[in-house]
Protein backbone atom coordinates (compact mmCIF):
# COMPACT_ATOMS: atom_id res chain seq x y z
CA UNK A 1 0.00 0.00 0.00
CA UNK A 2 2.78 2.42 0.97
CA UNK A 3 4.59 1.70 -2.28
CA UNK A 4 1.41 2.55 -4.20
CA UNK A 5 1.20 5.89 -2.43
CA UNK A 6 4.83 6.64 -3.23
CA UNK A 7 4.35 5.75 -6.91
CA UNK A 8 1.25 7.97 -7.05
CA UNK A 9 3.23 10.81 -5.50
CA UNK A 10 5.99 10.28 -8.05
CA UNK A 11 3.51 10.53 -10.91
CA UNK A 12 1.96 13.70 -9.48
CA UNK A 13 5.38 15.25 -9.03
CA UNK A 14 6.09 14.68 -12.70
CA UNK A 15 3.07 16.74 -13.73
CA UNK A 16 2.86 20.51 -13.77
CA UNK A 17 0.16 22.96 -14.65
CA UNK A 18 1.39 25.83 -16.76
CA UNK A 19 -0.25 29.21 -16.32
CA UNK A 20 -1.78 30.41 -19.54
CA UNK A 21 -1.98 34.12 -20.32
CA UNK A 22 -5.30 35.90 -19.59
CA UNK A 23 -7.48 36.46 -22.65
CA UNK A 24 -9.61 39.41 -21.44
CA UNK A 25 -9.53 42.21 -24.01
CA UNK A 26 -7.59 45.12 -22.48
CA UNK A 27 -7.80 48.81 -23.26
CA UNK A 28 -4.96 50.43 -21.30
CA UNK A 29 -5.21 54.20 -21.14
CA UNK A 30 -2.46 55.99 -23.04
CA UNK A 31 -2.52 59.43 -24.65
CA UNK A 32 -0.63 59.22 -27.93
CA UNK A 33 -1.28 62.94 -28.58
CA UNK A 34 1.00 64.12 -25.78
CA UNK A 35 3.71 61.47 -26.29
CA UNK A 36 6.42 61.33 -28.94
CA UNK A 37 6.57 58.27 -31.17
CA UNK A 38 10.15 56.95 -31.24
CA UNK A 39 9.83 53.66 -33.08
CA UNK A 40 7.06 51.55 -34.56
CA UNK A 41 6.58 48.16 -36.14
CA UNK A 42 4.02 45.52 -37.01
CA UNK A 43 3.65 42.25 -35.15
CA UNK A 44 4.22 39.00 -37.03
CA UNK A 45 3.77 35.48 -35.72
CA UNK A 46 6.63 33.01 -35.40
CA UNK A 47 6.97 29.26 -34.99
CA UNK A 48 3.40 28.70 -36.18
CA UNK A 49 1.95 31.06 -33.55
CA UNK A 50 -0.20 34.04 -34.50
CA UNK A 51 0.61 37.51 -33.28
CA UNK A 52 -0.89 40.62 -34.86
CA UNK A 53 -1.19 44.34 -34.23
CA UNK A 54 1.22 47.21 -33.85
CA UNK A 55 4.19 47.80 -31.56
CA UNK A 56 5.02 51.43 -30.81
CA UNK A 57 7.62 52.94 -28.53
CA UNK A 58 6.68 56.34 -27.12
CA UNK A 59 8.45 58.87 -24.98
CA UNK A 60 6.14 60.65 -22.57
CA UNK A 61 6.43 64.30 -21.55
CA UNK A 62 8.11 63.27 -18.26
CA UNK A 63 10.85 61.46 -20.20
CA UNK A 64 9.70 57.94 -19.44
CA UNK A 65 9.22 55.55 -22.32
CA UNK A 66 6.66 52.85 -22.93
CA UNK A 67 5.97 50.08 -25.39
CA UNK A 68 2.39 50.26 -26.65
CA UNK A 69 0.78 47.14 -28.06
CA UNK A 70 -2.13 48.39 -30.12
CA UNK A 71 -4.88 46.38 -31.80
CA UNK A 72 -2.96 43.46 -30.41
CA UNK A 73 -3.77 39.78 -30.46
CA UNK A 74 -1.65 36.71 -29.82
CA UNK A 75 -1.87 32.96 -29.61
CA UNK A 76 -2.02 31.84 -26.00
CA UNK A 77 0.71 30.00 -24.17
CA UNK A 78 2.46 29.60 -20.85
CA UNK A 79 4.83 32.12 -19.34
CA UNK A 80 4.51 34.67 -22.16
CA UNK A 81 6.72 37.72 -21.72
CA UNK A 82 7.18 40.98 -23.59
CA UNK A 83 10.82 41.50 -24.54
CA UNK A 84 12.72 44.26 -26.24
CA UNK A 85 15.60 42.47 -27.97
CA UNK A 86 18.50 43.13 -30.28
CA UNK A 87 17.31 40.40 -32.66
CA UNK A 88 14.47 37.95 -33.20
CA UNK A 89 16.34 35.22 -31.25
CA UNK A 90 16.55 37.30 -28.08
CA UNK A 91 20.34 37.13 -28.01
CA UNK A 92 20.23 40.15 -25.72
CA UNK A 93 17.03 41.48 -24.28
CA UNK A 94 15.13 43.46 -21.70
CA UNK A 95 12.12 41.80 -20.13
CA UNK A 96 9.22 44.25 -19.85
CA UNK A 97 7.10 41.78 -17.92
CA UNK A 98 4.48 39.14 -18.40
CA UNK A 99 2.09 39.62 -21.29
CA UNK A 100 -1.01 41.02 -19.59
CA UNK A 101 -3.45 39.59 -22.07
CA UNK A 102 -3.54 37.93 -25.46
CA UNK A 103 -5.92 40.64 -26.67
CA UNK A 104 -6.22 44.40 -26.69
CA UNK A 105 -4.32 47.62 -26.16
CA UNK A 106 -1.53 47.28 -23.62
CA UNK A 107 1.15 49.57 -22.22
CA UNK A 108 4.50 48.35 -20.84
CA UNK A 109 6.95 50.75 -19.15
CA UNK A 110 10.53 50.56 -20.47
CA UNK A 111 13.32 50.72 -17.85
CA UNK A 112 15.09 54.07 -17.91
CA UNK A 113 18.52 52.63 -18.69
CA UNK A 114 17.32 50.83 -21.82
CA UNK A 115 18.75 52.01 -25.14
CA UNK A 116 15.72 51.46 -27.37
CA UNK A 117 17.85 51.94 -30.49
CA UNK A 118 19.92 48.91 -29.47
CA UNK A 119 16.81 46.77 -28.93
CA UNK A 120 14.95 47.18 -32.19
CA UNK A 121 12.80 44.06 -31.86
CA UNK A 122 9.73 43.65 -29.68
CA UNK A 123 9.06 40.00 -28.94
CA UNK A 124 6.29 37.91 -27.44
CA UNK A 125 8.45 35.26 -25.84
CA UNK A 126 7.59 32.09 -23.96
CA UNK A 127 10.36 32.30 -21.40
CA UNK A 128 9.89 28.90 -19.81
CA UNK A 129 10.29 27.10 -23.11
CA UNK A 130 12.49 29.66 -24.91
CA UNK A 131 10.13 29.98 -27.85
CA UNK A 132 9.22 33.12 -29.78
CA UNK A 133 5.51 33.55 -30.42
CA UNK A 134 5.97 36.66 -32.53
CA UNK A 135 8.03 39.70 -33.25
CA UNK A 136 7.80 43.30 -34.38
CA UNK A 137 10.85 45.01 -35.80
CA UNK A 138 10.55 48.63 -34.82
CA UNK A 139 12.06 51.42 -36.91
Amino acid sequence: MNIRILVLFLLLAACETEDATPTTTLNDAFDTQTATLLRAGVWMGANNYNVAGEAQIYQQPDGTRVLLLDMFSSSNGPDLRVYLANDAKASSFVNLGRLKSTNGRQVYPIPAATDVNQFSFALIWCQQFSVSFGQAETK
Binding site: E16, S92, F93
Partner: protein
Protein backbone atom coordinates in the same frame (compact mmCIF):
# COMPACT_ATOMS: atom_id res chain seq x y z
CA UNK B 1 20.25 19.38 5.49
CA UNK B 2 23.73 19.78 4.03
CA UNK B 3 25.24 19.77 7.51
CA UNK B 4 23.55 16.46 8.21
CA UNK B 5 25.05 15.09 5.00
CA UNK B 6 28.52 16.06 6.14
CA UNK B 7 27.88 14.45 9.51
CA UNK B 8 26.90 11.31 7.66
CA UNK B 9 30.17 11.40 5.77
CA UNK B 10 32.11 11.71 9.01
CA UNK B 11 30.18 8.77 10.42
CA UNK B 12 30.97 6.73 7.33
CA UNK B 13 34.64 7.57 7.44
CA UNK B 14 34.99 6.66 11.12
CA UNK B 15 32.76 3.65 10.78
CA UNK B 16 34.68 2.12 7.92
CA UNK B 17 37.85 2.04 9.97
CA UNK B 18 36.08 0.02 12.64
CA UNK B 19 34.22 -2.17 10.19
CA UNK B 20 37.08 -3.54 8.13
CA UNK B 21 36.72 -7.04 9.57
CA UNK B 22 32.93 -7.12 9.47
CA UNK B 23 30.71 -9.13 7.09
CA UNK B 24 30.29 -7.59 3.69
CA UNK B 25 27.26 -7.06 1.50
CA UNK B 26 27.74 -5.77 -2.00
CA UNK B 27 24.92 -4.09 -3.85
CA UNK B 28 24.36 -2.80 -7.33
CA UNK B 29 21.40 -0.63 -8.14
CA UNK B 30 19.79 0.54 -11.38
CA UNK B 31 17.59 3.53 -10.68
CA UNK B 32 15.29 5.79 -12.66
CA UNK B 33 14.00 9.07 -11.26
CA UNK B 34 11.59 11.71 -12.54
CA UNK B 35 10.75 15.26 -11.61
CA UNK B 36 9.16 18.24 -13.29
CA UNK B 37 10.47 18.27 -16.88
CA UNK B 38 13.54 16.34 -15.80
CA UNK B 39 14.70 12.84 -15.09
CA UNK B 40 17.75 10.71 -14.51
CA UNK B 41 19.13 7.23 -14.81
CA UNK B 42 21.78 6.00 -12.43
CA UNK B 43 23.81 2.88 -11.90
CA UNK B 44 25.70 2.34 -8.69
CA UNK B 45 27.80 -0.21 -6.91
CA UNK B 46 28.43 -0.19 -3.16
CA UNK B 47 30.70 -2.32 -1.02
CA UNK B 48 28.93 -2.33 2.33
CA UNK B 49 30.38 -3.33 5.66
CA UNK B 50 27.96 -4.60 8.30
CA UNK B 51 29.46 -3.89 11.72
CA UNK B 52 27.95 -5.35 14.86
CA UNK B 53 26.49 -8.71 15.66
CA UNK B 54 23.01 -7.81 14.44
CA UNK B 55 24.26 -6.78 10.99
CA UNK B 56 21.56 -4.16 10.89
CA UNK B 57 23.86 -1.27 10.10
CA UNK B 58 25.60 -0.86 6.77
CA UNK B 59 28.42 1.48 5.88
CA UNK B 60 29.42 1.50 2.25
CA UNK B 61 31.75 2.94 -0.31
CA UNK B 62 31.05 2.79 -3.99
CA UNK B 63 30.70 4.50 -7.31
CA UNK B 64 27.77 5.83 -9.26
CA UNK B 65 27.20 7.03 -12.78
CA UNK B 66 24.25 9.37 -13.21
CA UNK B 67 22.81 10.52 -16.51
CA UNK B 68 20.54 13.51 -16.16
CA UNK B 69 18.32 15.12 -18.75
CA UNK B 70 16.23 18.20 -18.18
CA UNK B 71 14.07 20.52 -20.23
CA UNK B 72 13.69 24.26 -19.62
CA UNK B 73 15.31 24.27 -16.21
CA UNK B 74 16.44 27.31 -14.28
CA UNK B 75 19.97 27.07 -12.86
CA UNK B 76 20.69 29.54 -10.06
CA UNK B 77 23.98 31.17 -9.21
CA UNK B 78 26.13 28.44 -7.64
CA UNK B 79 28.97 29.96 -5.60
CA UNK B 80 28.05 29.88 -1.93
CA UNK B 81 28.74 33.51 -1.12
CA UNK B 82 26.40 34.64 -3.91
CA UNK B 83 23.79 31.90 -3.63
CA UNK B 84 22.88 32.74 -0.04
CA UNK B 85 21.58 36.17 -1.02
CA UNK B 86 18.68 36.25 -3.45
CA UNK B 87 19.71 39.75 -4.52
CA UNK B 88 23.11 38.40 -5.62
CA UNK B 89 21.70 35.33 -7.34
CA UNK B 90 20.93 35.32 -11.05
CA UNK B 91 19.85 32.41 -13.19
CA UNK B 92 20.66 30.50 -16.33
CA UNK B 93 17.69 29.03 -18.21
CA UNK B 94 18.65 26.04 -20.35
CA UNK B 95 16.22 24.73 -22.96
CA UNK B 96 17.84 21.34 -22.68
CA UNK B 97 20.32 20.12 -20.12
CA UNK B 98 22.12 16.81 -20.29
CA UNK B 99 24.88 15.87 -17.89
CA UNK B 100 26.64 12.59 -17.20
CA UNK B 101 28.48 12.29 -13.90
CA UNK B 102 30.78 9.57 -12.58
CA UNK B 103 31.35 9.90 -8.85
CA UNK B 104 32.71 8.04 -5.87
CA UNK B 105 29.98 7.79 -3.27
CA UNK B 106 29.28 6.77 0.30
CA UNK B 107 26.26 5.02 1.75
CA UNK B 108 24.65 4.42 5.13
CA UNK B 109 21.98 1.78 5.62
CA UNK B 110 19.85 0.20 8.30
CA UNK B 111 17.99 -3.08 8.11
CA UNK B 112 14.55 -2.49 9.64
CA UNK B 113 13.43 -6.07 9.18
CA UNK B 114 14.22 -9.14 7.13
CA UNK B 115 12.38 -7.60 4.18
CA UNK B 116 12.88 -3.86 4.57
CA UNK B 117 15.91 -1.64 4.83
CA UNK B 118 16.45 2.07 4.43
CA UNK B 119 19.42 4.25 3.83
CA UNK B 120 21.08 7.26 2.38
CA UNK B 121 23.86 7.71 -0.12
CA UNK B 122 25.65 10.68 -1.60
CA UNK B 123 28.27 11.36 -4.24
CA UNK B 124 31.53 12.74 -2.91
CA UNK B 125 33.93 13.37 -5.78
CA UNK B 126 34.11 12.71 -9.49
CA UNK B 127 33.82 14.11 -12.97
CA UNK B 128 31.03 15.31 -15.24
CA UNK B 129 30.76 15.54 -18.97
CA UNK B 130 28.22 16.59 -21.57
CA UNK B 131 27.73 18.75 -24.61
CA UNK B 132 27.71 22.53 -24.75
CA UNK B 133 24.22 23.97 -24.49
CA UNK B 134 22.70 27.30 -25.40
CA UNK B 135 20.92 29.05 -22.57
CA UNK B 136 19.72 32.44 -21.50
CA UNK B 137 21.32 34.24 -18.63
CA UNK B 138 18.68 36.17 -16.70
CA UNK B 139 19.65 39.10 -14.52
CA UNK B 140 16.62 40.95 -13.26
CA UNK B 141 14.81 42.27 -16.31
CA UNK B 142 17.83 41.81 -18.57
CA UNK B 143 19.08 38.72 -20.33
CA UNK B 144 21.37 37.36 -22.99
CA UNK B 145 22.06 34.21 -24.95
CA UNK B 146 25.08 32.26 -23.63
CA UNK B 147 26.79 28.90 -24.05
CA UNK B 148 27.36 26.60 -21.12
CA UNK B 149 28.78 23.14 -20.44
CA UNK B 150 28.67 20.83 -17.42
CA UNK B 151 31.14 21.78 -14.72
CA UNK B 152 33.84 19.11 -15.19
CA UNK B 153 34.93 18.49 -11.58
CA UNK B 154 32.50 17.37 -8.90
CA UNK B 155 33.26 17.62 -5.20
CA UNK B 156 31.09 17.51 -2.11
CA UNK B 157 31.94 20.24 0.35
CA UNK B 158 30.28 21.91 3.30
CA UNK B 159 27.04 23.81 2.81
CA UNK B 160 26.61 25.49 -0.54
CA UNK B 161 30.29 25.18 -1.43
CA UNK B 162 29.76 21.99 -3.44
CA UNK B 163 30.89 21.98 -7.05
CA UNK B 164 29.63 20.08 -10.04
CA UNK B 165 27.01 17.39 -10.42
CA UNK B 166 26.36 15.37 -7.28
CA UNK B 167 23.62 12.85 -6.63
CA UNK B 168 22.11 11.80 -3.32
CA UNK B 169 19.28 9.46 -2.43
CA UNK B 170 17.17 8.62 0.61
CA UNK B 171 15.92 5.13 -0.10
CA UNK B 172 13.66 2.38 1.17
CA UNK B 173 14.49 -1.08 -0.07
CA UNK B 174 12.19 -4.08 -0.12
CA UNK B 175 14.10 -7.35 -0.24
CA UNK B 176 12.23 -9.63 -2.62
CA UNK B 177 14.74 -12.43 -2.28
CA UNK B 178 18.21 -12.70 -0.77
CA UNK B 179 19.65 -11.56 -4.08
CA UNK B 180 17.16 -9.04 -5.34
CA UNK B 181 15.45 -5.99 -3.91
CA UNK B 182 13.19 -3.19 -5.11
CA UNK B 183 14.14 0.37 -4.20
CA UNK B 184 12.05 3.51 -3.88
CA UNK B 185 13.89 6.75 -3.26
CA UNK B 186 13.79 10.49 -3.03
CA UNK B 187 16.68 11.81 -5.09
CA UNK B 188 18.28 15.21 -4.66
CA UNK B 189 20.59 15.95 -7.56
CA UNK B 190 22.81 18.97 -8.01
CA UNK B 191 23.34 19.71 -11.71
CA UNK B 192 25.88 22.40 -12.43
CA UNK B 193 26.79 24.22 -15.63
CA UNK B 194 29.66 26.61 -16.30
CA UNK B 195 29.09 29.35 -18.85
CA UNK B 196 31.66 30.07 -21.57
CA UNK B 197 32.25 33.50 -20.08
CA UNK B 198 31.52 34.96 -16.66
CA UNK B 199 28.12 36.34 -17.61
CA UNK B 200 27.30 37.43 -14.09
CA UNK B 201 29.37 40.46 -13.17
CA UNK B 202 27.64 41.80 -10.06
CA UNK B 203 28.50 41.76 -7.27
CA UNK B 204 31.41 39.70 -8.58
CA UNK B 205 32.17 37.71 -11.74
CA UNK B 206 30.53 34.27 -11.85
CA UNK B 207 30.20 31.53 -14.44
CA UNK B 208 28.69 28.67 -12.37
CA UNK B 209 24.96 27.94 -12.20
CA UNK B 210 23.23 25.08 -10.40
CA UNK B 211 19.91 23.30 -10.65
CA UNK B 212 18.86 21.53 -7.45
CA UNK B 213 16.70 18.78 -8.89
CA UNK B 214 14.23 17.07 -6.58
CA UNK B 215 13.03 13.79 -7.97
CA UNK B 216 11.41 10.54 -6.95
CA UNK B 217 12.26 7.22 -8.45
CA UNK B 218 12.36 3.48 -8.38
CA UNK B 219 15.10 0.96 -8.89
CA UNK B 220 16.05 -2.66 -8.88
CA UNK B 221 18.90 -3.78 -6.69
CA UNK B 222 21.14 -6.83 -6.98
CA UNK B 223 22.63 -8.01 -3.70
CA UNK B 224 25.64 -10.28 -3.56
Amino acid sequence: MRISLVLCLICVASGIVRAQSQPVLQSSNAFIAAGVRQGSLSLDYFYNWQPGASRKFQIGLGARITSYIGSNQYHATAPADLAVDVLKSDSLLLSTAQVHALNLAVQLGYRLSEKVSLGFNIDAVGVSFGANKNGRYLNGNQGQLVQARPTPLNILLVGNHDRGTLNSQFFIRYHITKSWAATVAYQFLFVEYTTAVAVQQQPEPNDRFRNKASMFGVGITKLF
